[in-house]
Symmetry: C2
Subunit: 277 residues, 2 copies
């Protein structure tokens, strides 16, 4: 459905906030993008990024975003504070907070900036894998609502089969490789790219072959793509890969890479995740 | 030199700050750790981390640290604000700022927490390389003062030879692998680990075979090590590796890994760097 009378995409509804002051925005959680506890972290990251994009003092496009998930976000209204703390000639630094009833639930920092032509090189080439049409679609279990807003076609390291939980041995490594995009399809932009960079389930599920308590503590996204490169993706699948380096003492790191269907490295992301096991 | 009458290690002098209010600290840049413009980013990161470590409300040990270098830090005094914005049962979230004359030069967020025993696994094993005694020591050129505070023994991807600058072709990839430690030797702790995670020169120097204008915009460090694992390193060399994924439009990402001599993955770090070329 397109045209001016079409309803907004559920993702745009989920990340929508309204400026109620110079640096204050009001928002509301969206059940479509709920996670096991509170909203999907990617949609929170996207709402924060979108708040900056809509700020009248914003300079350029996103370069980096770090979101710290300080506490659970309850279903209901929240307030975002988005403040440009330093504006240079070609970049701008932001501090953000998301609060409910005066208690900070999320903090973030972001760098926006102007991109210009320079010498360039891609070192992390897109892996050569079968196309999305050759990979089976897979869905998260019912209790992960946000998963229904993404088409996920795994080439390697799929979501553990909940029916076999406990019986299935853990995967020998934490690597997942998959084609993914919004569902229903939606043209890619910086906000959806931020959310997609968090759309990889916790690596500890893969290693343990089952679901367990786990949650992102801190997420950092580096935006490599220009706005033109994003626009060129349209609604095509992206190829994503994710893996962890070390699990221990209740925490692990999780790195992810997202390429466009044309092989452009669009974003890299990193997160620190807690788990109980 | 040891003992209670020994002068502090230059690193401890460089990262020292003094609490002048509940959340305010006063510090001063240190010429020993100067970079081309302002201080070495790693020593700024370490000063911010140490400010939290010394805060009376601090809970646990560092889990993650993100530092955004918003503007140049001039030689002279600076003020740090370090505020715990949310304290949970097992972790604590911090917001920090470093300002000079009221202008914000650096922002940061950090997560500290309590580590506990869990299932564990190392996926990123230490590469098998010749020991530090078999690698030649290398120094940065004179204009990079902070480099003199580290012993760097490169196994691969050494600093470009400034004498050959322009004549030397760029390296085919951006990978450096090296043994490194403080000079003079200093027992490893979280603050020095934070600084060491930024002690890899900008990957664009390696690819281009020469020095050019480049600087870190945002640095994130994930601390995998427990305090006991750090203490076990003593003053031994660490093995570090660094590489970039994509260079383009004036920015590149740089990832680094640091292992202890015993193969423990101590920290992983990520940074976004601007460059002119």
């Amino acid at each position: 459905m397109t045209g001016i009378d079409a309803p907004p995409h559920p993702f745009d509804t989920a990340i929508a906030t309204e400026y109620v002051g110079t640096h204050q925005l009001a928002g509301h959680t969206c059940p479509d993008y709920a996670n096991m506890v509170g909203p999907f972290g990617g949609v929170t990251a996207a709402a924060l990024l979108r708040a900056i994009e809509r700020h009248p003092e914003r300079l350029g496009d996103p370069l980096s975003l770090t979101v710290n998930y300080a506490g659970p976000i309850a279903d209901g209204p929240f307030e975002i504070t988005a403040r440009p703390v330093r504006t240079n000639r070609t970049n701008q630094h932001w501090q953000l907070e998301l609060a409910q009833d005066g208690a900070i639930a999320t903090t973030a920092t972001a760098v926006f900036g102007i991109r210009r032509d320079t010498w360039s090189a891609l070192e992390l080439a897109m892996p050569s894998v079968p196309g999305p049409e050759e990979a089976d679609p897979q869905v998260f279990p019912e209790f992960i609502a946000w998963g229904r807003n993404y088409e996920l076609r795994f080439v390697a390291g799929a979501v553990p089969d909940i029916a076999a939980a406990g019986a299935e041995p853990g995967h020998p490594d934490s690597v997942s490789t998959l084609w993914l995009r919004d569902s229903p399809a939606r043209p890619l932009d910086f906000a959806s790219l931020a959310a997609l960079s968090d759309a990889f389930f916790p690596r500890v599920f893969l290693r343990r072959g089952r679901y367990l308590a786990a949650g992102t503590i801190s997420l950092t996204v580096y935006f490599h793509a220009t706005a033109d490169e994003l626009a060129a993706q349209g609604t095509e699948y992206l190829l994503g890969s994710a893996r962890a380096n070390r699990f221990g003492h209740g925490h692990f790191d999780q790195n992810a890479h997202l390429w466009g269907h044309d092989g452009t490295l669009l974003a890299t992301s990193h997160q620190l995740v807690y788990y109980k096991d």
